[in-house]
Symmetry: C2
Subunit: 178 residues, 2 copies
DNA sequence: CGATATCTTGAATGAACATTCAATAAAGAG
DNA sequence: CTCTTTATTGAATGTTCATTCAAGATATCG
C-alpha cells in the first residue's frame, strides 16, 4: 500500500515492491500472480483499513453530526500532511488506472459505492438528530460529500495552504448539511 | 497531450510519444530535452487551450450566470464521455506526479491559481447581476467550485451514471451561488 | 552555386523492467 | 525418521525503457 501510494502504480517497480513487502519476486508472483494482483490486494486491504477507521471515528463521537465533523477534520489533516502515505490510495488509483483496467475500475467502483452507502446512513442519522435544514435526500448529500472529499484531496495537492483547505472543508460541511 | 491523457505520464513510453507526435526520439530530445520536458510543454499547451475554451464559453453567453451554467454542463459532458482525451490533463497530472516532481507541481499550482482567479472574476460578475444569495466572498466561491469540479471528475471515473453526474453538478451550482 | 549552420533520422546503448524457474529450504504427514 | 508437499530464493530471461549520437538531409545566406 505504501509503495503504491508513494509512487503510484506505474512508477512502482517490482524492486520497490520487493523492498516494501520483504518478499522475493517469486513469492510475490506465487501469492498474487502478478503486479496487478498485488495492487488489487493492496486496494482491498486499504479499503478494509479505511472502513474500520471510518467507523471508529463515528462511534467515538456522541452524535452523527459530531462524527461527520471529526471525519472531515481527519481528512483535512491528511490533506495538509506532506507524508505521501497519508494520501488516499483509492483516489490515486481511480485517477491513474480506473480508465486503463476494467478489473481495477470495478473494485474501485464498488468501494466507492460502499463508502457512499455508509455516508448515506450517516445523513439519515443526522436528519434524526435534527441537524439537516433542507429536504435533500441523504443519498444526494452523501454523493456531494464524497465528491467534495475527492475534490479536496486533488485541490490540496495543487494548493497546500492549511488555512484554505480547512475553510473549504468547513464550507463543504455547511453545504452538505443545508 | 492525448498520449499523456490516455496513459498517464508514467505509462506513456517514448514510443507512444513518437507515434503521437510524429517526431523521432532525437527530435523530441532536441526540442524538449527529455520526457518530462515534453510533459511540461504539454501541460502548458493544454492550459492555453483550456483557458481559451473557458473564456469562449463565458463570452458566448449573455450573462456570467448563464456562462457558469454552460461551463458546468460542458464539464458534465466531458465526465460522461468515454473518450479518454476528454479527461482533464491537469487533474491527472496533479494526482499522478505533483507529489513526485517539484517543477511539475509548481506549474500545476500556478495553473490552478489562474483558473481560480478567472472563476473569482466570474463570481464578481454574477454578484453584480444579482445572482448570489448569501455573502460569501467570490474567492471562496471560486475555491468551492474548483474543488467541486475536481471531485466530479474523480467521482465520474468510479460511478459513470450520467444522471447522477448531472445532478451532482446541478447541486454544485446551487451551493456555489447560495 | 557553394559553404555553413541547423534540423532530422533511426539504429545503438545500457539500464531497468516484469516475469520465470530450477534449486533450495521448510513444513507436514505417515 | 522418511517421504511428500509446499514455500522461498535470487539469479536468469527477454523485453521494453529513456536517452544518445553520428550520419544524412534540409535550410540559410553570401
Amino acid at each position: 500500500m505504501n509503495a503504491f501510494m508513494e509512487n503510484g502504480y506505474n512508477k512502482t517497480s517490482m524492486q520497490d515492491l520487493k523492498r516494501a513487502t520483504g518478499l522475493h519476486p517469486g513469492s510475490i508472483y506465487c501469492a498474487f500472480e502478478n503486479k496487478k494482483g498485488l495492487l488489487l490486494a493492496a486496494l482491498e486491504q486499504y479499503n478494509q483499513d479505511r472502513t474500520a477507521e471510518l467507523k471508529s471515528i463515528f462511534t467515538q463521537q456522541h452524535s452523527a453530526q459530531c462524527g461527520l465533523n471529526a471525519y472531515l477534520n481527519s481528512i483535512v489533516a491528511e490533506c495538509i500532511s506532506d507524508d505521501p502515505t497519508q494520501a488516499c490510495l483509492s483516489q490515486k488509483a481511480i485517477n491513474e488506472i480506473a480508465q486503463q483496467d476494467d478489473e481495477a475500475q470495478q473494485v474501485l467502483s464498488n468501494q466507492c459505492r460502499l463508502w457512499q452507502r455508509f455516508m448515506c446512513d450517516v445523513f439519515v442519522e443526522i436528519a434524526q438528530e435534527g441537524g439537516l435544514k433542507g429536504e435533500r435526500k441523504p443519498e444526494q448529500r452523501a454523493q456531494s460529500l464524497i465528491v467534495g472529499i475527492y475534490g479536496l484531496r486533488t485541490y490540496s495537492q495543487a494548493q497546500k495552504d492549511p488555512h484554505v483547505i480547512a475553510s473549504i472543508a468547513k464550507q463543504l460541511l455547511i453545504d452538505v448539511c443545508r
